[in-house]
């Protein structure tokens, strides 16, 4: 029965990875850039949520929304200031800039606020245990999973059923042809960053509620793992990021469950190496052969 519990834990953690991974994969899909600052947007979201709850005394859902809005704006600003001028530069230049932006946010945040830890209050969400097939499952794990799934459904709706979603898919397929069809490419890219960052912000709040401890460098490891999740599912593919995130969470839980908890973080990167060696285009990616 311990395994059911581990499975649920894994899925909850995995849904956080999945939310972050979606942002990576959306941005990659549209501008072919690995936005390494994405993990830091997640961190900022977590802090915004924390202050909304402790200082503004907002309930969980309101804090979640505030954090999503702030992160959406933050993500758009990052794109405008750091990436837009490099739109036509080499990809490596944009990638290095992304790492620079990441460090700037992390240490800029520490400079302004200090590096001390904060702890989310324990009573943000009701905490009780549910008995499922003999396994004890925390109510928070269920709620987190519910929020994540709701956000993923919303994202699917936006991408597949709205004008903006269609523009995003068109731009990601052929940006030049898209603008010749009357699509404002800059605005579409801005929206993509906004939506991806809002999901990271939501993930930050959820992470804070679940693990309570937050600090300015907290974005690094979840950010990298979410990147692994995106690659695992096939970067640029939305369902891939969701499945990749959930799978990675489950793998991690089972690695600790069978007694290798010290290897927990390592497992993600072993997965990355294995994927890159055996399935470079990921679970959902198609292996594109160049046509001659």
């Amino acid at each position: 029965m311990e395994y059911v519990q581990q499975l649920v834990n894994g899925i909850s953690v995995g849904s956080i990875y999945a939310l972050i991974a979606l942002g990576y994969t959306m941005v990659y899909g549209i501008v072919k850039l690995i936005n390494f600052a994405h993990g830091d947007v997640f961190m900022v979201g977590s802090f915004v949520g924390f202050y909304s709850i402790t200082v503004l005394h907002l309930p969980f859902v309101a804090a979640l929304l505030v954090s999503m809005v702030v992160c959406a704006i933050f993500g758009m600003l990052i794109e405008r200031i750091a990436y837009k001028p490099l739109r036509n530069a080499t990809r490596i230049a944009a990638l290095i800039t992304a790492i620079g932006v990441s460090l700037l946010i992390e240490y800029g945040f520490i400079y302004v606020r200090g590096a001390q830890l904060e702890a989310y209050p324990r009573d943000v969400l009701p905490d009780f245990k549910i008995n499922l097939f003999g396994a004890e499952i925390e109510s928070q794990a269920i709620l987190i999973l519910g929020v994540s799934i709701a956000l993923m459904i919303l994202l699917q709706f936006i991408v597949h059923k709205t004008k903006m979603g269609k523009s995003m898919r068109a731009v990601s397929y052929d940006a030049e042809a898209a603008q010749l069809m009357g699509i404002n490419v800059n605005r579409t890219i801005s929206y993509t960053f906004a939506i991806g960052s809002a999901l990271a912000g939501a993930a930050g709040v959820i992470f804070g509620v679940y693990y309570t401890k937050i600090e300015p460098l907290m974005g690094i490891i979840p950010g990298l793992k979410a990147f692994v999740a995106a690659v695992l599912g096939g970067i640029g593919i939305l369902p891939g990021a969701m499945v990749g995130g959930l799978l990675l969470g489950v793998i991690e839980s089972f690695v600790s469950a069978i007694g290798f908890s010290l290897w927990r973080d390592g497992a993600a990167f072993i997965v990355l190496i294995l994927i890159l060696v055996f399935m470079p285009s990921g679970l959902f990616g198609k292996n594109r052969r160049e046509k001659v």
Partner: protein, 259 residues
């Protein structure tokens, strides 16, 4: 052609890439509802000229006026929304999108409902989407593509992709339609059907059409006037008969007569 104000007025248009003057000194007028051909040997600068009209390249000299609006330096999406839309020499559909979505994407700038109205599912969203669906279906019907509507665009046969590109360009509701070799790679039968179709949409939508094409009989058959471009410069213009007998044009295509 009467002396009415031209829909498109291009004056002394030119562009240089570094030291290379790809196009220079082009003057061209298109009047409302005209069908005009742009011909010339490979590498003459025809597609470059289209790229300047649509804002992909910014001209280094000259002006482009659409009605009373100057187009130089506008971004491509604004020019498209302003009334010029185009197809591509090498097909550039959104291959991963369904056929109908390809058309809807081009219709976006006409649809008014916002992202927010879609997320909170206001009636606006449903009305906007319904209107878009109806319009897109109507375009597909003209091009007899409605039975493929949920197919991915990249899975269509070649000839159908060409037609879909034109349908998509029309959905942006242009006043001026630029067709870059629409019949490339088609067999004579398909070409003939396509030309009838172009004539039909021109009537229905009251369009002005500028056509790049290599198929001479085709251009001569459908265009009222023809411009000839060679080495980036206009070398001739006139009716099909004038062009056919113009020594400069013959020289550009066949080379100088050996004496």
């Amino acid at each position: 052609m009467d002396k009415a104000k031209p829909l498109l007025n291009v004056e002394n248009l030119g562009i240089s890439f570094g030291g290379l003057r790809a196009v220079q000194g082009v003057d061209l007028q298109l009047f409302s509802k005209e069908m005009v051909g742009l011909i010339g040997p490979n590498g003459a600068g025809k597609t470059t000229f289209f790229n300047m009209l649509t804002g992909v390249y910014e001209p280094t000299e000259g002006t482009i006026m659409l009605g009373n609006r100057k187009l130089n330096g506008l971004s491509p999406y604004k020019i498209t929304q302003g009334g010029i839309s185009r197809t591509f020499q090498n097909i550039r559909l959104f291959g991963e999108l369904s056929v109908i979505d390809n058309v809807k994407v081009a219709y976006h700038s006409q649809a008014k409902h916002s992202l927010l109205s879609s997320i909170i599912r206001l009636p606006q969203h449903f009305n906007g989407e319904r209107e878009m669906e109806e319009k897109a279906l109507a375009f597909l019907e003209i091009f007899q593509l409605q039975r493929f509507k949920d197919e991915k665009a990249k899975n269509l046969p070649y000839g159908q992709q060409r037609r879909l590109e034109i349908a998509r360009a029309l959905a942006a509701s242009p006043k001026l339609l630029l067709l870059d070799e629409p019949a490339a790679g088609m067999n004579p039968q398909e070409t003939k059907e396509l030309m009838n179709l172009i004539a039909l949409i021109r009537e229905t939508f009251e369009l002005t059409v500028l056509l790049i094409e290599h198929d001479m009989p085709l251009v001569m058959g459908v265009c009222e006037r023809i411009y000839v471009l060679d080495h980036g410069q206009l070398i001739a213009q006139g009716t099909p008969t004038e062009i056919k007998n113009n020594p400069k044009v013959i020289e550009a295509y066949l080379g100088e007569e050996v004496s």
